[in-house]
Symmetry: D2
Subunit: 406 residues, 4 copies
């Protein structure tokens, strides 16, 4: 029978097969050793994809220590397997603060964060280490909010590269990755047939766009709710019905929140919904669907399937998925490895850039050259060739006043 | 802790909530008792959706005995729960032939078949029972082939309604149901990101259309392979690339067979495929991908994830899902309950029609009135109203030579 | 300066370039002369595409005489050019009945009809000619209604092939041809931006499906209205909103009727429409939008652009396109030549089949072999190769009871 | 019979009906008179939509003088009609330079440019007028290149608002407007059936995206060619085939260039194309398809339809549309009025902002508040309501470190 470590290694190997961009970078790193001798501290989900990133950095000469950015997001068998190759602190919820501290004791010169936990702790608890650092990378909007607040106070002491604002990241992670996995989570939890359903998407940011696009791709009729007029207009121009949430409440069969704000669906919406409506959240935190309102008005609550709770209101029932937690992580497997391949390739190259370049303290965008390199590697992995400009065309583009035709 | 029976009842209740058409028929059956005293033998998948059908027939006055059409397609907890309400013979693979015989000993006057097993056995082993029968229904193409062969020999002794040729069945079961669940199965087994992948769909019958449509809905680039020129042309006119399988072999990332014939993908195709290509079958039987050719030419074979086998050929590897068995059943949950709602509503109404009407022996199409009733009930369940012709419009349509405009 | 005949020849040449299927048939006909010495009478639209059909039949040895099926559907320059090669009677509205009679005086042995005008006149006025005929083809639903009425009375004396019921015809002519050209007509007449508009499609037959699909392809939000529950359900499952016309009336920006019945949009609908709504008809006759109701309730009517009339009702105005006539013919160029290529290829092969085969009187479907030949030629024209079954696969398909897998 | 002026007024009225955003701004301008006494010089296409803009500015108190930004883009009847209300200099190609100079003699204090002609002439010929100016707006990429070159030299003396870089402009003008009208132009010129065709889109900027999306919406199979890896990757992830132009050359039926660089299609591409391939340009200038290469290698060239030239090469022929000029202007009617409504609403509000605000010299982005106002007005015109944040939600968004869920 396979041991936990064997199963972890198998998962890592499968993920590796889905991450050709990172593999290609790993091969170059192995030759060039750009991270030779650099200590890297990473606070990320402990998953098979992260393991492939860790191996990539180590191939480039780094010594990596890893703790969990979310103590509930640890694949145990992967943690066991990876421990044989790297320094892993993944003790689970009770050990979380200690695990973060343990990474810091190794005095990393580069940090990879998913919520600014390492950089936050360095600034508050170990400012002595900051001077020796090359810098850090950050993967989340929330983390960037914290780091920019530090920067605004003049307190941010190191350069940080905002990986999650890269254009490639936006497209892959939010639009394609979340678009697929959010609907996957809903289907796995419920086995609903989406064709013929009315799916209401609340929020038309990048993730909302991905969700709306895929829902239409399943044959659903899609309604979009937004507060920003430009986004609302784009949704409408792309063929979706757009209306206020209160009006959509009476029409929807499935509701998906992805706004970043709390209580997007609340009592007044539940009150109008049809019997059998399904509620799912695709936003990062479990605040978008008001559990308080659901509980206070329901006459009974019970689990009818794993991850599906039934809230009864008189002769109607609403079904809440995954307790309102982000449904693609809770009910499916989060982003496909191909999506993390792009994110983590940006991370690896950002890490290299911090080490080999000179950066001022502050939050920096991912350099365009890195975006282009990742895109080019991904195209190569997809066996897609593209054109290059001829010299004459490049010259033409450099003209400030090109001829207006013949 | 929940018992097996409790879990089975919970699954049946959830399915019931997804099957409003059958529920509506059940309510009418309960009032009208059209099947009062009629013995019904059913040989179907033993699932929560089938349980809802059984309850519907029993509400109409029937006494139902059930065995499994596929001894591997038994939800054990549902079988346990349903045993308390009906006669269930679901002993698994070793008991399969006995289970079919057990149903026959109850001398059913109507049969519901999913492969002509009950009707086949009645004709071969219990012809004495045929004279007393109202008739049967059949759910599969394969079953109909067998029954029509009997009919061609003049040996078919009872009327049979070809449920799976109903227009509603074609649309729901094949196009929408299989379209969604086949891709669901592939994503669950692999967590692949389908956007950006080239998906090759072999076979453009109803199921193939559904699969191609949904693959495009996931952002995949779709190639269709067909042998029928009309179907191939339709695929092309609908915007898909169409080419021979040998040419597609070199381009695809994911291959899905759904042709009904054996060895659609074989050595010559495997030989041309890219490293990492994924092979899945959506046809009824596990013959479409040549396992013999895969095994004979691979240098090594091993399972890398549950339901994912890796076949190594020199420096390339191909991944076979679910051993080539139908991927939506093997790796996902088969058709959503909403799909079975339509199929089983047709079954229930066909069963009623056999009992209350006079039918000649032979294979019959589902009467148009039944198709319309099911569609109308489904629309009602979706809260969709439609128009009716005015009297003047109906009169106009009845003219053989209407005025050609003003 | 180009003469009318020159312009006609140029149009015919352009059409010929777009009709590779007919060209391929013409080359075979020229070699094989299947129509040698056969008189063919055709009553069709007099267009460049029809000219290509006439040339094809003549290449096969036929002598063709042509009159106009619709006296308003004559491309004058084409009529002039074609007169030099064939017998053309295209005198326009006042000469229409005489033109039909002129074709009959030539005693055609095969007729090609687009509304049963030639066959109707033969049965009523020249029954003496029927005995010598091979038969006829019919291109319209209306014509088939008339011919089937004759058949029901036992009066239909010749075989007729129902070209417009061919599967290839349905797909091309109605779904792809009309789908594109109806929206083309609306855009040409109005220069409306369809993205962001709500387009209401009344009728979800083949043409309605094409129109709905293309409207969605333009980025419109589409509502479908239907009276048939199965069609309504399909529309809904394909992701469209479905509702009664009265409810849609208040939501639509553009209304397209394609039902085949009169007064689909009438006073009660106009009453609810938004200011600026646009009304177009894609059905064969100009009866679907009630002009009587528009006129009787409008306070003023005037043409604001060619083919656009403004009907004012208090503070709202509705815009009627092309006086309610079929908008793809009136405001655009009808079906693209590539569509007519398929229709006319079916015509040419049906004509050959009538001449070389033995047919009983009555309405007949297009033989499957002809459908397949046309599809195969069209695929060849598109440079698309397809697979063929292996012998083993063909054998498998011929089994009545194939093995159920391994 | 209608006079030219009558026809012009009818066109302006129709456009006005399609431009509700501008109408709404005009109503406010009429009340508030924000441009009272301000001379505005406009160098734009002289069309019915521009006339609606001119009326809007005049309603706000401005006196407007207009010349043509492209001497070939003048709707004569509109010019005649507008002359009765405004100062119009539209003498055509020979008078173009004089017309621009005539506008300058009126010493405009705000300029509206479509290629930087007025601002260019002011800087080079009438620098004396610059000091008195509020500033200008610019509608084209080319114009901005010129103005930014001036700015880089320190020579730009006035503020300029870059209207065509507004997010609303990008979406409407390029994606939705050009997407529809480019394909409309191709269909009008050729009456091609796009379903089943392979359409090659060269360039995947905003316009290329719109063209690719709409081509797929017509049922075409779409190939994208790009030089930028990120754009190429997005095209691929959105489901399009991506390959080098040389490879696409052998596969395409229709080629559409929209890259901004010259000679994108040239001899080596023509050499590989299929017989009958159609070439169209959707880029601003007629340089993207190499006419030189077409002419030098063709054995014969002739016009076969208006706007369609046939270039013969041995046994193949290629068809060039509109001589390689931008096909939506040359063969259709350019952007729909609904598109210009958004562009010109941005222009009108930018003009107001320049007059009422204080701006430094230099090129400025359209203020976000203007974008939001235009979007909100457009939504209102579409009868679309949207949500607003609750106070609690707005507070939550302002937190730098929001609670991470419950």
């Amino acid at each position: 029978m396979a041991t936990s470590s064997d199963r972890g290694l198998a998962r890592i190997e499968w993920a590796d097969g889905q991450m050709p961009v990172l593999r290609s970078i790993r091969e170059r790193f192995a030759r060039e050793q750009p991270l030779a001798g650099v200590g890297v501290g990473a606070c990320l989900h402990v998953t098979s994809e992260t393991a492939v990133l860790v191996r990539t950095l180590q191939a480039g000469g780094a010594s990596v220590s890893l703790c969990a950015s979310n103590p509930f997001a640890i694949q145990e068998d992967v943690a066991v397997a990876l421990s044989a190759e790297s320094t892993v602190f993944a003790g689970g919820p009770d050990a979380w603060a200690d695990d973060v501290a343990s990474v810091l004791t190794l005095a990393p010169r580069v940090t990879l964060d998913d919520g600014a936990d390492l950089l936050g702790a360095l600034h508050s608890a170990r400012p002595d280490l900051l001077a020796g650092m090359h810098g850090g990378t950050e993967e989340t909007t929330t983390g960037l909010l914290r780091l920019r607040a530090l920067e605004a106070e003049g307190a941010l002491a190191v350069p940080v590269i905002a990986v999650n604002e890269a254009r490639a990241e936006r497209a892959f992670n939010d639009r394609f990755g979340a678009g697929q996995s959010v609907l996957d989570g809903i289907v796995r939890a419920t086995n609903l047939l989406l064709a013929g359903q009315t799916v209401v998407v609340l929020g038309y940011g990048w993730t909302g766009r991905g969700v709306a696009l895929r829902a239409a791709g399943f044959g659903a009729s899609v309604i979009v709710c937004e507060v920003d007029p430009l986004r609302a207009l784009e949704a409408r121009m792309e063929g979706f019905a757009v209306m206020p949430a209160l009006e959509a409440a009476a029409r929807g069969d499935v509701f998906i929140t992805v706004t970043g704000v709390p209580d997007v669906l609340r009592g007044e919406h539940f009150y109008r919904m049809k019997d059998g409506a399904v509620l799912a959240n695709a936003g990062q935190f479990d605040v978008e669907i008001s559990l308080a309102d659901l509980r206070s008005s329901a006459s009974s609550v019970r689990e009818v399937l794993p991850l599906v709770e039934r809230f009864e209101f008189g002769d109607r029932a609403l079904y809440l998925l995954a307790g309102g937690r982000v449904v693609n992580l809770a009910a499916a497997e989060g982003h496909p490895a191909a999506v993390m391949d792009v994110s983590f390739a940006l991370q690896a190259l950002a890490c290299e850039a911090l080490v080999v370049g000179a950066w001022a303290p502050g939050v920096h965008a991912v350099p365009d050259a890195i975006e282009r390199e990742v895109a080019a590697l991904k195209l190569a992995a997809l066996d897609v060739d593209i054109d290059v400009l001829t010299d004459a065309q490049a010259d033409y583009l450099s003209l400030t006043s090109p001829p207006r035709g013949r």
